[in-house]
């Protein structure tokens, strides 16, 4: 900090005193402004410099603090989220293939039964009455079996449909990781700006607040603490009943 010249100060104070003693209001104001100007020219640039340093330190601190949280918690969490995505897609693929496997024999059996009956029907046409006599009973067995198998097929189809729900869950998780990557990019470029001595522009978008559950947090991921989370539908149903009872 550059100190103002003491001799100039002394002269300005004397001028101020003289104007005051002489009742010279205009002179007093002039001397006072000059004195203030003298102080400003030393203090103001210094103050500006300190403020700028403090601002940049604060910006750096907030960027570094955020980076700390990102690196310390959110990146490891993102790894868990993506691992969970791998697990969900793996389970859904296996579930789908298991269901396809269990549908195969049902369809094969229907085809086999129908072929058999068609042969019998043909023999009936050829007046082979010994064979034909068995036809109604075999047809009834076939129809019975087909009905049961069709119900199982329908249930499997529903299950196949439900298995595709993984896309919504994994999609939400992947989106949250994309948001994290976006934020990492912004914090890192902010730090680069500060390191290069450039003026830091504010982040393009407000940083997300992890506590803000109003917008939705996405699916629960094992191993990531998310406060007071319900374990499943039964847990939720119990809470709803309790709330209804408390009303």
């Amino acid at each position: 900090m550059s100190h103002p010249d003491p001799e100039r100060f002394r002269a300005q104070v004397a001028a101020l005193q003289g104007a005051l003693d002489g009742g010279d209001a205009a002179g007093f104001r002039h001397a006072f402004e000059e004195l203030c100007g003298q102080m400003d020219c030393g203090l103001l640039p210094e103050l500006k410099r300190i403020t700028a340093t403090a601002q940049s330190a604060l910006a750096r601190f907030s960027a570094e603090a955020r980076l700390d949280v990102l690196a310390g918690h959110e990146v490891p969490d993102a790894r868990k989220r993506l691992t969970h995505v791998v697990k969900l897609t793996d389970e859904a693929a296996h579930r789908t293939m298991d269901l396809v496997d269990s549908c195969g024999p049902l369809v094969d059996e229907a085809a086999r039964g129908a072929t058999l009956l068609l042969e019998k029907w043909k023999s009936y046409g050829e007046r082979d009455l010994a064979f034909a006599a068995l036809w109604p009973e075999q047809a009834a067995t076939f129809l019975q079996r087909t009905r049961t198998d069709s119900e199982a097929l329908r249930a499997n189809l529903t299950e196949l449909l439900m298995a595709q729900g993984y896309q919504d869950i994994t999609g939400q998780i992947i989106r949250s990781v994309i948001a994290l990557v976006d934020e990492l990019e912004q914090v890192l470029s902010k730090l680069v700006c500060i390191a290069e001595g450039n003026e830091v522009t504010s982040l393009q978008r407000a940083l997300p607040t992890p506590q803000d559950w109003q917008r939705g947090l996405g699916p629960q991921v094992a191993g990531i603490a998310n406060g007071d989370a319900m374990s499943g539908q039964d847990d939720i149903d119990a809470l709803l009943s309790q709330m209804a009872a408390d009303k």
């Binding site: 529903t158 449909l161 439900m162 595709q164 729900g165 993984y166 896309q167 919504d168 869950i169 999609g171 939400q172 559950w213 109003q214 917008r215 939705g216 947090l217 996405g218 699916p219 629960q220 998310n226 406060g227 007071d228 989370a229 319900m230 499943g232 539908q233 939720i236 809470l239 709803l240 709330m243």
Partner: protein, 128 residues
Amino acid sequence: MSTVKFLVVDDFSTMRRIVKNLLQELGYNDITEADDGNTALPLLQAGSFDVLITDWNMPGMPGIDLLKAVRADAKLAKLPVLMLTAEAKREQIVEAVQAGASGYVIKPFTAVTLKEKLDKMLAARAAA
């Protein structure tokens, strides 16, 4: 029964398709879809829907805001609203119920759960 008119709101088209298929399996064929609260609300205000099924976490207007907007609209205030979402925080479920959700189904869900909650909601609606 089959004339019940549904609006299904979810930003993931796969989930809308799953819900639509399940509803059709249950015998409901009048189903409209929307991808967030902003597109759903005008549809609700213009149409005569009987049931709203909505996700929570959606870009644009989230499901909880849609629920509040529905309850704030005199014409829609009594509409049965089922939240069908992966959101599992206790505070969220409490918030949804206080905002007037008629039911809350957590994803991943089963066809049986969806049917059970729908039946309950529709029975309550018929009794009202």
